[in-house]
């Protein structure tokens, strides 16, 4: 066992640069000096674990909040799109009926338009703070202005139709074009940005755990190294301070690591489960309502709406694909698919009638509210897809809430526990150092 030599610093000459190096060498080259080094290393490892680990939990918690917030914006954007396209679909279909509107459909149109504008305002208010927030705000602002103009054009179409003036048809056409070319196009831009926000938040959440695990492993390695070194240099097999510190790190890691994994698992499950289903249902619904508008435009064109029918096929195929995806991901979300396929069947009959020159019969079938009629079958789809979307949105909210709740309390455990472990390690080694005095 080495014995430290104690020298009164006051008896020494003023230290030169080389003298300082010598004294540092003396301070850390001897056994107590090396003990101090191990003490410093163990303390740093524990403090790093405390800070990096709690920061990692904070980062994951923040990323989950960001993901939940972006997912919420995506839900609302989808709601805006579906409400706006449905409003267009109601207005276009109403035009087929003539100047006298069904009050129920009129009320539904007003409701859909109000939902679209109010939700759009809410989405804009809850905008992201990412690099593309300005671009998103511009898109939403343009969409909002276009939506207001759409409402004005529909009012013009309606008042002209009410007076049986043919210019109403032109206003209707202009409104529908505005909906497709501006409102939906701008919502597409915002949608892409928000979609990136969701993906980016989920990626951040995934990467956050590495800091916790690596800092825990590093602290454990340093503490084991210190314990082994101390056992070799002292007569004691176990240094209680170091052992306590090691135990504390292991216990904290055992509590926080699985919680982090569980939180990430909840995020991944929510993102790939209900959020994906909600996304597919939303895209399917928007495409389906667009198809319904196109069906009316095809009939308004009365025999020369080939281009609208071609677009109908594209939108209906998209709706079927998305609804099929939602059904496969969640069997509880299969009603919208079967209801939409029934509507497709009715549409095919409408086309057969129109193509055979039986336009009046085709319109009557498309607007039919009795079972098997176009309006009735589409309303069934609208209702079942709305219910499925609401259920998926609730599941998304619950999933992100659960994920965030499971890690928040662990942050303080890691911070305080890590600092306590650092104190224990220093205390344990200091006890041995004192034996050399």
């Amino acid at each position: 066992m080495a014995v430290a030599t104690r020298i009164d610093p006051a008896s020494l000459p003023a230290p030169s640069t080389s003298g300082a190096n010598t004294s540092v060498s003396d301070a850390f080259g001897s056994t107590p000096g090396r003990m101090r080094l191990w003490s410093l290393a163990a303390a740093i490892a524990c403090v790093v674990f405390a800070l990096a680990g709690s920061a990692a939990i904070d980062a994951r918690s923040g990323a989950i909040d960001d993901a939940a917030s972006a997912a919420f914006r995506l839900e609302r954007l989808e709601e805006v799109r579906v409400a706006a396209v449905e409003a267009d679909s109601i207005a276009t279909t109403s035009f087929l009926v003539g100047g006298l509107e069904d009050p129920v459909r009129r009320a539904r149109f007003e409701d859909r338009l109000a939902v679209a504008t109010e939700t759009l305002t809410a989405v804009a208010a809850a905008g992201s703070d990412t690099d593309r927030s300005g671009e998103e705000a511009d898109a939403l602002s343009t969409a909002n202005a276009a939506l207001n103009r759409f409402a004005g054009l529909i009012e013009q179409a309606r008042s002209n139709n009410r007076q049986a003036l043919p210019v109403g048809a032109a206003y209707q056409r202009e409104a529908s074009t505005l909906m497709r070319d501006v409102v939906v196009a701008e919502l597409d831009i915002a949608d892409a940005i928000v979609r990136d926000d969701v993906n980016s938040a989920v990626r951040s959440s995934r990467s956050a755990a590495y800091a916790l695990h690596i800092s825990a492993l590093a602290a454990i390695a340093v503490l084991i190294g210190a314990s082994v070194w101390m056992a070799r240099r002292t007569s004691r097999f176990v240094n209680l301070g170091l052992a306590g510190s090691l135990l504390a790190i292991l216990v904290i890691w055992a509590f926080s690591g699985p919680a982090m994994a569980s939180a990430q698992s909840a995020v991944d499950d929510t993102a790939s489960g209900p959020l994906s289903v909600l996304d597919q249902l939303g895209q399917g619904r928007a495409a389906a309502f667009d198809a319904r508008s196109l069906e009316a435009l095809t009939l308004i064109s009365r025999g020369s709406g080939g281009a609208y029918q071609t677009q109908w096929v594209g939108e209906a195929d998209l709706a079927s694909r998305q609804l099929d995806g939602a059904c496969k991901a969640d069997p509880a979300s299969c009603s919208p698919l079967s209801d939409f396929e029934r509507y497709r069947g009715v549409h095919d009959e409408v086309r057969v009638l129109d193509d055979a020159g039986k336009w009046d019969d085709a319109v009557a079938l498309a607007l039919g509210t009795e079972p098997g009629g176009g309006a009735a079958s589409f309303e069934s789809f609208a209702a079942s897809s709305d219910a499925a979307s609401t259920a998926a949105a609730d599941a998304v909210d619950t999933g992100f809430d659960d994920a965030a709740g499971s890690v928040t309390s662990r942050q303080w455990l890691v911070l305080v526990g890590g600092l306590v472990a650092a104190g224990a390690a220093i205390g344990g080694i200091a006890q041995r150092i004192r034996e050399y005095r």
Binding site: A164, P166, A170, R173, A271
Partner: protein
């Protein structure tokens, strides 16, 4: 005191290599894993088949009378014309019409099933009555609503049998389709706001006005000429879209046939039709160029309408707002 302590802690952290390693690891790990949301899907729409661009036909003899059509035949006599027999076998006459040209061809939403009504429609019903030899032709006409620009293509590709769509007979169009004799004489004028000082298309040209006309029409051809080079012409697919643009303040004026503009003025009390007609627009029914026998049949129907007073009766029903009924347009034969 919080700030210096905080800074000192951060500095100590930066000195520790493991922190840098961890940060590097975290950055590398950030890109791992599949993104949960894919890019938004878009509808796959089959591309429209477009015909190869063709050189616009030219008129071989601009001085010849474009309203000269094929000689009329008696529509009540037994016919051997393939086209007429084909329509009879089918049981429906397929017609290309407008649905928004008030007085000539517009939906009437006040009636059940919003039928299309107007002077053009009466001409087509008269033809149908003779083809099917019955007065009840409501279920024997299949209406296809087409835009101005679709009038010639829909005849060329035989998707309709006949077009009555306020269509001007002219020499260039004769190179692509065949026309009946004239069933209405119109002229091109301009519609402006009630407070406008413009009295003619020349005034609008001086004012460098924005003026709307439908694409694919003689109306737009008549203003796309050097003498009106200061006009700012806005083309749309259907002339009713011009009224929307006018009411929205996107254009200062609309040009079209006086008959169509009269319909616009009837829909908008803040608009007026001004100036003399600066072109002659004789309307004829269009038929595929190869169906000469069918054109002669239609000319026979028009001839009977002129002489029986039926033409005047329809004029009085639909066009009395334009003034007292003139004599029916004189048919020119011998093509």
């Amino acid at each position: 005191m919080t700030e210096p302590l905080h800074t000192s802690t951060r500095r100590r952290f930066h000195r520790v290599p493991i922190v840098a390693t961890l940060l590097a690891f975290a950055v590398l790990a950030a890109g791992c894993g599949d993104d949960p949301l894919q890019a938004r899907s878009t509808a796959e729409v089959a591309p429209e088949t477009t015909a190869a661009p063709v050189t616009p036909p030219t008129c071989p003899d601009p001085t010849a009378d474009a309203t000269r059509s094929y000689d009329a035949i008696d529509p009540d006599a037994p016919t051997t014309d393939d086209k007429v027999l084909e329509i009879r076998r089918r049981g429906r006459l397929i017609v290309g019409v407008a649905a928004d040209v008030l007085l000539f061809s517009a939906r009437n939403p006040l009636k059940a099933n919003a039928p299309i009504e107007g002077f053009d429609i009466e001409m087509l019903k008269a033809v149908a009555r003779k083809i099917f030899q019955t007065d009840q032709v409501d279920n024997k006409i299949e209406y296809r609503v087409i835009t101005y620009a679709q009038r010639l293509p829909s005849l060329i590709d035989n998707s309709v049998d006949i077009v009555a769509h306020t269509m001007t007979i002219n020499c260039v169009r004769w190179q692509q389709i065949a026309f009946s004799t004239t069933y209405f004489d119109s002229g091109q004028r301009v519609l402006v706001g009630r407070s406008s000082t413009a009295e003619s298309v020349d005034d609008l040209n001086k004012q460098k006005a924005r003026i709307c006309a439908p694409e694919g029409s003689t109306n737009i051809d008549n203003i796309n000429v050097p003498e009106y080079s200061d006009l700012r012409v806005v083309g749309v697919s259907d002339i009713t879209d011009c009224l929307v643009k006018f009411q929205q303040g996107d254009v200062d004026a609309v040009t079209g046939d006086d008959t169509v503009l009269a319909g616009f003025a009837a829909q908008d009390p803040y608009a007026k039709v001004v100036g003399p007609a600066f072109s002659s627009e004789p309307y004829g029914m269009g038929v595929n160029k190869s169906n000469v026998g069918f054109v002669r049949f239609v000319n026979g129907v028009l001839e009977q309408m002129r002489s029986s007073g039926e033409w005047k009766r329809h004029y009085d029903t639909w066009l009395s707002v334009l003034g007292r009924a003139p004599a029916p347009p004189v048919a020119v034969y011998g093509r």
